[in-house]
Each structure stands twice: as C-alpha cells, then as structure tokens.
Amino acid sequence: MLLRLIAASLLFAGIFSPPALAMDSKEIYQLNEKRVFQVRVLNRETGKKSSIGSGFIVGDGSQVATNYHVISQVVTEPELFYISFTSKDGQEGELKLLGLDVAHDLALLGADEPIGEAITMSPLPPRGAPIFAMGNPLDLGLTIAVGTNGGILNQTDDSRILFSGNLNPGMSGGPTFNDKGKAIGINVATARNAISFIVPSRFLNDLIEQSNAAPINDETDLKIEVARQVLAYESSYIEQLLAADWPSLDLRQVKLPGIISPTVRCWDNSAKLSAIARYKRYQIRCANKNHVYLDGDNKFVGNLVYEYFWLESEDLNALQFYNLYENLNKDQIESKLDRDVVSNFNCRTWFIEVSSQELKSNLCRREYVEYEGMSDVLFTAALTGHSNQGFFITLIMTGVDYESTLPLIQRFLEQIEWKP
C-alpha cells in the first residue's frame, strides 16, 4: 500500500510539476535585464527625450530591435531627432536605423560596436502557455509583465499575438519571452486591461535577414521607403482579397459580398429606431483590424471598411422617403487629417448599371503629401429609381495604391445581386 502511495505521488508530481527547464519571471528578468534597453528618441537641439520605448539586443550583438512607432520621428524629421539607448545599469549610446518593417511595426537599430549578448528567438509556445513581456513602462524602470499566449490573431493578418498580460506605454519594442527565456515576439500595443498584442518573432527574423543584406543608409529616403513598404503590403493584401472566394450575405433584397477575408469582422450597425418611425433601416459594417502605424499623432493606414445600408418604408411617400434617404447617404472617412498630411479629395460621379439596377456612385481619392503614391479611397453607390426602397454601399480604403483598389471595387459591384 505504501509503495502504491509513493508510486502514485511520484506519478502525480511527474504530471503536474513544471518541466525541469521552465523559468519563472524572476529568472527571466535576471537573465535579460542587461539585454533589454530603454530606446529613446532625442531632440538634437534640446537633448531631451521626445519619445521612449523599449528594445533588445538581437543578431550580432550590435543590433537592437524595437517598434517602428517608437522611432518614427526619426523617419519623419531625421534632421531634428536621433535615437539612443540606455540600459538598467547606465550604459548609453547612439543607435542608427538599419531596417524597417512598417507593416508589422518593427525597426532594427544598430550600435557602432556590440553592446551585449543577443537574445535568441523562439517560435510561439502553445496557446495558454505563460509568456513574459519586458520593457520600461512610463519611464519608471525595467519591469516584467506576466501573462499567457492567446494565440495568433487571424483578424490582424496573422501579424499579432494576443497576450493576456498588461503592456503599458514605454514597453513597446521590448521582448516577450517564453518560459525558456527566449524571445517569441515584440511588445507592440494594448487595447485595454490585460488585452495586449505581440508581434511574432518570425517577422523580426525576416527584418534582420533583410537588413543584413541591404541595410538602410544615409542615402535612403526614409519616407519613400515607408511608402514603398506600406503600398507593397496593402497591394499584397488586396491581391489576397481578390484571390479568395467571397461568401455572400443577404440584406433584404440584395445579395452582397460578406466576410471577404479572415481579417474582416462584420457587425450589425442598425440604429435603434423610434417606436413611431415610419421606415425601417438596416446597416451592416465590416472592417479589418490590421491597421498600419504610419507616423505621429496616431496616424494609421490600412483600413478596409465596407458598409451596407438598407432603407425601406411603406408609409412614407416618395418625396419624404428620398429626403430621408439622402440625409443618410453621407459617409466619410473617419480619420480627419489636415492639409499638411493629405491633399483634398477629388470626387467624380457615375450612374452604374449593377444587376439590372442603377446605382448613383461616387469615387473620391486623396493622396498623402509626404508618402508618394499613397492614397485614401472612398467609394459610395446608392440605389436609384425605387420610390420606397433605398440601398447604399460605402467602401473605404486608406494608405493604398489607388489603381490597386479598382479591381476590388469592380469585384464588389459585380457581386451585388438584386433579388426581385
């Protein structure tokens, strides 16, 4: 009996005790505290910090990985800002930009000489496994946040890992470790308490490889490079959308493109109507989540939004109905950018025959001042010719190559089917 108990205890311990090599947060912190830095963007004139984030040693020991959004001021105003790092024990030095992956919000920086031992990368552990994010929140000192791996999010084009720990401003660019002390990703963003996001380390490996082959140098026009990367990413994204089969959704008398990509989520957005309303309206809003950080003031691009709006009434006469219909037909791009950032919109109107119906359509386009070839596109199309039925579609894309959006608009229109 005693032997059985001893055997059972040993079996229990074997199953439920952590693996022999698993590290706790204290051990991970102690192992990496000299390899994780505060990354600072300093003003050349005042010598003071303009923005801070975190970074960690990678590659050959002279390279530091961080987020693009931490150092974006150096891209927009290289003559005014420069990058430096400071370690927990007071080690300091200037860093130069070696590579960018704007689409995944990564930047690779380089020191003149090795500054420590590089952190090794590892693939993502299983969903639910503990992971540890290190960084320097709010300039308060190096800390470690504990949470679990929530898996790769397909609604962000597989470029984000969900992390159940708390990331705070200043931790961006810091490493996220598995319980072996190896980096599985880079801290990037937070949504709210205990909902944080990590960039998988495979994107950083790609960036290191590309930067070693062709590093950014003094002759690189950084804004052209940023625009090139964003446009390439968005064009590839649109190609993926076009290559996929689009499921349909029904909205009263029309059949429409549904969730056209795993990156897209659709919500019923119908407004609550008054009990005495003499009409019915239904609204569906679909949008992606893989927004790309462009530069200061939280300027993001990469939005794909499409909205469907159906309006019908048996009680309103045609004049009343069209007054209401027109009042609702005024969608806009939500981001209100100013004249320093974008051009005016240029809009043109067409009446397009779609599935035996006529849609009054508007296509508007504006371009970014500093990012050549990058456009925001707004397309609207409203059903005409029905006295008590209205329907309109709005399609918005930001930070895209204008020409690449036309096949997508065409596909949208071709997939609209009127059900008599």
Partner: protein, 318 residues
C-alpha cells in the same frame, strides 16, 4: 413778370419758395427773403434779380462756399432759360418756372384693387395661407415618424410664422425710419412672396444638383439669392410701393439687404468651399431624387472602372 419757384432739397426732402419780387436775397441771415439755416450757407449768399425782359440775373454774395450754377462757379450771370441748378454750400436747389412739368402721379398700390398682388388684402391673406401651407408641407416632407399635429403646429409657428413675422417687423421699422412710410400689408405680401420663392429656389437647386450631378446649382443659387435677388426685391419694393427714386431705392436696398445677405453668405458652407482650399471631408455628390432625372448616362461596371482610372487625386492645399 411771372413768378419763379425755388425748389430747395434738403436730405431728400423738397420745399418750394415762390419768388415774385424784383430782387430776392438768399442766405442764412434773418434779413434775407429766403432763409437757409444750413451752416455752410453764408449769411448773404445769393441775390436773384428779375428783369423786365424775363431774364434773370444771379449775383454771388459770398467768397466762402460761393454759389455754383449748373455745376459752374458763379460770380454774376444773366440767365435766359430755366431751370437752373444751384448749389449754395451743401444746399442744393433748383430755379424753375411756375409751369414746370411735374412727374406723373403714381397710383397707390391699394388703388388698383384686385389687379395686382399688392392691390387688395385678400391677396395678402392668400399668400399668408400659401406660406403656412408651404411650411406645413416642408414639415411633412421631413417627418419620418408618425406626424403629431402639435409638432406640425410648432414647426409652422417657428419656421414660417416667426420667420415672416420677424422680417415684416424689421422691414416695417426700417421703412418707417428710412422713407417715413408704414405699409404693413404690402410688406407682408412682399415677405410672403419672397418666402415662397425661397422655398421654390431651394427645392429647384436640389433637383438641379441631381440633374447635373454637381453641386454648382445650389452654390450659385445661394449666392444669386442673397447677392442679387434680395437687393433687387427690396429695390423694386421701394420703387413701386414706397415710390422712391431709383438711385435712392437701390442704395437703400443694398443697405437693408446687407444685414441679411452678409451673415448668410459668411456662414454658408458654399463660401467656405470657395475660400478654403482644403477640406478633410470628401465632397461628393450625395443628392438623391425621387424623380431620378439626371443628364449623365448610366455606364457598365467595366466602363466605370475604365473611366475611374483617370481620376486624379485632389489638389494639395497651400
């Protein structure tokens, strides 16, 4: 010798003095035959001598602000023909014969009875009713919920009765102050006509926007309304109802229309569109119409995509 008449104009008002003596003196001093109390007139400014051969001799008596006759500076002259235009200081006068023709009599608007809109009170009442109907229709066309009579009443009271009332009140006070008239009924008729026309123009502009697939119709109707129609309507009212002279009526019309036109123009989206060279919003043609009358032809999806390739980005702002 036939008597002459001196027509003296002061601030748009005329007074008439008969000159029947052989010698008549004009000036500010109290010993003159005709006394002009304006400070720019000399104590003894002008002497008029009538000769037996019907000629008239004018003698200037002052070196300060000397008399001008027919826009010529005068020391002394003998005139054979009338009328003569005189300027004494800033007082303007005219020397005219007694049989000088006067302008035709203008009929009072009310005298023509039913022949024109201003002729009878029933026209005014009819126009007021038409305005109330238009106000009610406007409410009805913009009501998308079950209509309550109390809401209709409040809307018509606020948007029609108060609007017309405020304009009638303000314009009648102005009319009283500026031309010393008080013609409320004609004013109500005019304001009602303008109100009806305004609604018609607004609706038409909207339809034209859809017809042309452009926003210039409402823009130009907006400017045309405030910069042309409103001043013209006021000028016509002042000429035909208040019987003012044309030049004065135009000046007064501009004066009266300015407080209405200037804020409306300054606050209008159209002006901002014209003046501001940047807008973060896409100004697209979102008008929709129950009639669906449009000049643009419908195109296929393929043609649209082909034509859309030529769409350039908007202008960069300065």
């Amino acid at each position: 010798m036939e008597a002459l008449i001196l027509e003296i104009s002061t601030r748009g008002l005329h007074r008439y003095q008969q000159i029947d003596g052989e010698v008549t003196t004009i000036g500010r001093a109290l010993d003159n035959d005709i006394i002009l109390s304006d400070p720019t007139v000399a104590p003894h400014h002008l002497k008029i001598i009538r000769h037996g051969d019907s000629s008239i001799e004018l003698v200037n008596l002052t070196e300060i602000n000397p008399t001008r006759v027919n826009n010529q500076r005068l020391q002394s002259m003998v005139a054979e023909r009338l009328p003569l235009k005189l300027e004494m200081g800033r007082v303007q006068a005219q020397l005219i014969p007694r049989d000088y023709a006067v302008a035709n009599t203008r009929p009072l608007a009310g005298n023509s009875h039913g022949k024109n809109l201003f002729g009878h009170a029933y026209w005014t009442a009819l126009l007021v009713l038409a305005c109330l109907f238009v106000g009610g229709t406007e409410f009805f066309l913009n009501s998308y919920n079950t209509v309550k009579w109390s809401d209709l009443f409040k809307y018509v009271l606020r948007e029609t009765v108060l609007t017309i009332g405020v304009f009638v009140l303000a314009l009648s006070v102005l009319e009283r102050l500026l031309v010393n008239r008080w013609e409320i009924r004609q004013l109500i008729t005019t304001v009602c006509l303008v109100y009806l026309l305004f609604n018609f123009v607004s609706m038409s502009g909207h339809g034209l926007n859809y017809l042309f697939s452009a926003s210039w119709p409402t823009t130009w109707l907006h400017f045309g309304w405030y910069l042309t129609f409103i001043p013209c309507a006021i000028a016509l009212y002042l000429i035909h109802i208040s019987h003012l002279k044309q030049n004065r009526a135009i000046l007064l019309a501009i004066l009266i229309a300015s407080p209405i036109a200037v804020p409306s123009i300054l606050q209008s989206q159209h002006l901002r569109t014209l003046l501001d060279d940047f807008s973060p919003a896409a100004k697209y043609q979102n008008s929709l119409s129950a009639f669906n009358w449009h000049l643009k032809d419908s195109v296929s999806i393929e043609s649209f995509v082909e034509q859309a390739q030529e769409l350039t980005p908007g202008e960069f702002a300065d």
